[in-house]
Amino acid sequence: MFAAFLQYLFSGLTSGAIYALAGLGFAIIYNASHVINFAQGEFIMIGGMATATMVAAGTPVPVAIALAMAASMLVGVALEKFAIEPARNADVVTIIIITIGASIFLRGGAQLLWDKEFHALPAFSGETPIGILGATLMPQSLWVFGVAGLAIVVLWWFFNRTLFGKAMLATSHNRLAAQLVGIGVKKVLLASFALSALLGAVGGIVVTPITFTNYEAGIMLGLKGFSAAVLGGLGNGTGAIVGGLIVGIAEALASGYLSSAYKDAIAFLIILFVLFFMPSGLFGKRGTDRV
């Protein structure tokens, strides 16, 4: 009985860590611009697809990973330069719509550049399951936990301990004031897209051995990542991680103890319930509006 519970928990943690990693990317761009970047899932897809196809073509894994990360960052920068920046005076909502358009464009591009097949990547530390008290966990899940944990530490350090990170936060709070004290607002936005694309690529690379990837993989990861980010409080890294884990574990426990037919509904019910009582998410700062 306990073994079954533990297995459900591991299942939930595996999915949850994947959602959390996807959710983290939303936090950075939101922090810098209050824009929700719906092309975040596509950064994840690009990271996974680029690595998987290069590895399949014979590139050594570390080289493929480095190139995929660079490619994804380049796409992030290009997206900001050619789609977001020309519309910088537009509403936040308009920019969000632009990111949706960009996500469709990137999916189409991936379809042309690569193909419509699914691609796999070998697991980093083998495929021998680790047995714990009668339940099993794949070593790759540990990689996902580790990378998610590392990302949150690095992000915390970046936003709280570096001048550039603080400049980003300042820009998100008040763009004009930030500009007046000498922060290069344009640079901040550019950097935020590069960073979140990089983070997305890292996420895509570590989850591909578990979930596989294809040109459409970004849709699900983006959606679940967005749910995780909203549940945890948009713009809060810890929140995205906790949110992702809650969604993943809720799904697994629901399919284990209730019915797998309702697991998605149950996860969304939890999100609705939390947002009903805490509209800015679990870790979000309460917004203050001056009337």
Binding site: F10, P129, T136, I210
Partner: protein
């Protein structure tokens, strides 16, 4: 003034178009219309289907066409969506004035197009899998792919042979998996098998160990049957191995492609699934009537497109061959006569199996169309 110019242009264009239409009628090709899911989630169906139709139509035209007339193929991409399929079918019937419809890659697209074909009385050979396409029988609708019920029956009969009586079913909670799940429940009793655990997963779930653990603990499960396509079955297979489940795993015909073995890797070892002969042409017995057809088709397709042939490409090939044979027998491009001749198709050896249609069976495949395969050392092995 501006308006005058616009109307003037419109009139000229309209006159020109009428002239063109008149001209086209004089040349009079046989028109085959097709709405396929060339892009979108079902593109793995529509893309090979489109390539196959185009390749063979071109070849037939080079050889002089049918009844001395060329064939003109009109293809639209419905992206797998029913509403688009319906719009395009309307266009095919009303403005392209096609004589025959081949297409509807997904069941949704086919079911949206079917009433239009029925009303306009155009013969329509569907490329969709589900039983609902031909059951109940619709006068003008036929199909070439195997049904999910046939796949379930093949799997259950193999289980019965192995003395398995209690199984766990895990299916994808969407289109193909859902229909397969329902058909499995409908026929499982005929084989004395009981489904003791019935679980589902979403098409893009990253992990299904929770569902599999529940099946494992259901008590007395002697085999697990998974109905789905895409990456889902590969994840099920990997998780199945992760949990160290010692019972046999069965998959549906939805994963009968090399991609599945490639994705699932070692975990796919020993998995059994039903598949058409086209998956293993070289392993078919020399006496198998299908051997020649599938070997030739595989060679043609792979030489032309440099990619592995799939069962889906075969469905389009079969549909085209059945239609061409019917036109030849009818001796005229008359929709009603062609329909009657399609229904009289008998003993056609296709990539999907032997096809003999009748007034009550608009698919015509016998259960022997499926073979049972097992994955051994990363390759298909024909076991039945």
């Amino acid at each position: 003034m501006h308006n005058l110019v616009k109307w003037g242009t419109a009139a000229v264009v309209a006159v020109g178009l009428c002239g063109l239409a008149g001209h086209a009628r004089a040349a009079d090709p046989i028109r085959i219309g097709s709405t396929l899911s060339v892009t979108g989630p079902a593109s793995f169906l529509g893309e090979p289907e489109k390539k196959t139709l185009e390749m063979y139509v071109e070849r037939i035209n080079k050889e002089g066409g049918v009844l001395g007339r060329k064939i003109e193929l009109v293809v639209y991409d419905d992206g797998g969506a029913g509403d688009k399929a319906s719009t395009f079918t309307k266009r095919l019937i009303e403005s392209d004035k096609v004589d025959i419809l081949i297409g509807g890659s997904t069941t949704a697209a086919t079911m949206a197009a079917a009433p239009l074909a029925e009303r306009a009385e155009v013969p329509f050979i569907s490329l969709a899998g589900a039983v609902v396409v031909v059951e109940p029988v619709k006068k003008w609708i036929f199909k070439t792919p195997h049904t999910d019920r046939m796949a379930a029956e093949k799997v259950f009969s193999d289980m019965k042979k192995r003395g398995i009586t209690k199984i766990g079913l895990i299916s994808e909670d969407a289109g193909f998996g859902k229909s397969g799940h329902d058909q499995s429940l409908a026929v499982v009793k005929n084989y004395g098998i009981e489904i003791v655990a019935d679980e589902v997963y979403s098409p893009k779930d990253p992990d299904v160990t929770a569902q599999l653990t529940k099946i494992k603990n259901a008590g007395g499960v002697q085999a697990v049957f998974n109905f789905g396509f895409g990456q889902g079955p590969a994840i099920v297979t990997k998780n199945f191995k992760q949990l160290g489940m010692a019972v046999p795993l069965y998959q549906s015909h939805g994963v009968a492609s090399k991609d599945y073995i490639r994705l699932a890797g070692d975990a796919a070892e020993g998995v059994r699934l039903p598949a058409a002969g086209i998956v293993v042409p070289e392993q078919l017995a020399a006496t198998d009537p299908q051997k020649l057809v599938v070997t030739a088709f595989k060679k043609d397709y792979e030489a032309a497109f440099k990619s592995d042939v799939s069962t889906f490409a075969g469905h389009a090939y079969d549909a085209l061959q059945i239609v061409l044979a019917a036109i030849k027998r009818a001796g005229a491009v008359d929709k009603a006569k062609i329909r009657d001749e399609i229904e009289k198709t008998s003993g056609y050896v296709g990539t999907g199996g032997l096809v003999s249609m009748s007034a009550s069976d608009h698919m015509g495949l016998s259960p022997s169309a499926f073979h049972m395969l097992e994955i051994r050392k990363g390759e298909w092995a024909l076991i039945d």
